[in-house]
Subunit: 250 residues, 2 copies
């Protein structure tokens, strides 16, 4: 085990760089914080490259970290790395998975979801609803942003989340015969008019502007959720939950 | 019109106190920020006690503020009052409505919802789903917290939100013959086993612990939303949306 007890250590600076999207992309890695996320990451083979643990933390026996290399740090370094107010003092450097091919029948496509809390909650909701794969288009917040990771509560490690061009994905899904449903406040049909099928793709969009028009023009159908009261719209994560659970046809 | 151009003015200190729950309760008022919330507040008669507007802001003609008193402030005071990063420079002091009696058939009851973003999103969702009244029990974050107000996007002004004792409310609703559905991860039936009726009350609970057991024992039935993937639970606002829209039976 290595020991790093100074926040000036170059390794600490290197880890801290993983708070930025640029460094995450350059290195193909990301940093998770807290027992729950670290445990979820460790369940996936070859996901965790390195564990970073406070000297004040005792790792409970239930956590099997195998031969993953571990560095012990002190309070000062914890403070430097933490992105939560009361850090649990445990971190993991993880490898960004590459998903060249996915074997999926249900998809959630995201067009420019910008709030990290919303993106994380959407990922958690898609996981709960049994969606097979998520495709995140351009203009969305980085999926490995620490707030996205926290809000998703480990769902990053449960289903493939692919960054890709939504136009290309729609073309591919169409050629596979998968119906693609957009969501729109202005045009479209009430979502309950669609008969749910196990294989489908749903697109949800930006918090303020919804899905870009060019994408809406490429879908099989566009759906809306009726508003019965006086609010103007639903939060995008809430809307996603309503639609995905409707499609489960419980 | 009054002018206040120093953040040291005692009136500014008084307004700033409305950032605290204690002062909001003592005064029976609360502060909203931004064009959208101020406009929604002004639509309700006698809701706005006072407008506070930056000298850099021009109030568009669509906003009818009638005879509401207005104070002009400068950048320095805006900075002092603002709770958003980029303030729109418009604020309103509002009166906390008193709802002794409500004329409602559908209710949402909240047991110790603690995250302001969640509480606001739940209020917005209940509004969208056409819920008639919300009852907020003890242990929840203050409904007039600025983050709750922002997340609810004006729904505070669309339906009665009552602070009350949930045990008393359940007793009252039961004696009115209204079915009360709790939500629980462990016990209960799949929500789709309940036949939706226009008159009902749904209870949702704390982010970590759910609804307290003593309340679950008082309900007509307790419902759960099945989890199909590997996430442990749904976000409480997302779960609320799924259930309220199921009960709309669209």
């Amino acid at each position: 085990m290595k020991y790093i007890h100074s926040s000036k250590n170059p390794q600490v600076k290197q880890w801290k760089k993983l708070h930025t999207k640029k460094e995450r992309e350059n290195s193909g890695t990301f940093l998770v914080e807290g027992f729950h996320l670290v445990e979820e990451a460790l369940k996936i083979e070859d996901m965790v490259l390195e564990l970073i643990v406070s000297e004040e933390v005792e790792i409970p026996p239930r956590i099997d970290y195998g031969s993953v290399s571990m560095t012990q740090i002190n309070k000062e370094v914890v403070k430097e790395l933490a992105e939560t107010e009361t850090s649990q003092g445990i971190f993991a450097v993880c490898k960004q998975p590459k998903h060249k091919q996915v074997d999926a029948t249900s998809y959630l496509l995201l067009d420019a979801v910008q709030d990290p809390g919303n993106l994380g909650t959407i990922i958690r909701t898609a996981d709960a609803a049994g969606i097979d794969a998520i495709v995140v288009g351009n203009g969305s917040v980085d999926i490995y942003n620490s707030k996205v990771l926290r809000s998703a509560q480990g769902s990053h490690f449960h289903l493939p989340i692919i960054r890709g061009d939504l136009f290309e994905w729609i073309e591919k899904l169409k050629s596979d015969g998968i119906p693609i449903y957009g969501t729109s406040l202005d045009n479209g049909i009430v979502f309950t008019e669609v008969e749910p099928t196990p294989s489908y793709a749903l697109i949800v969009g930006n918090e303020g502007n919804g899905i870009q028009t060019d994408l809406l023009n490429e879908t099989t159908k566009n759906l809306y959720i009726p508003i019965f009261g006086k609010s103007e719209s639903l939060n995008v994560a809430v809307a996603t939950g309503i639609l995905l659970y409707y499609f489960k046809k419980i």
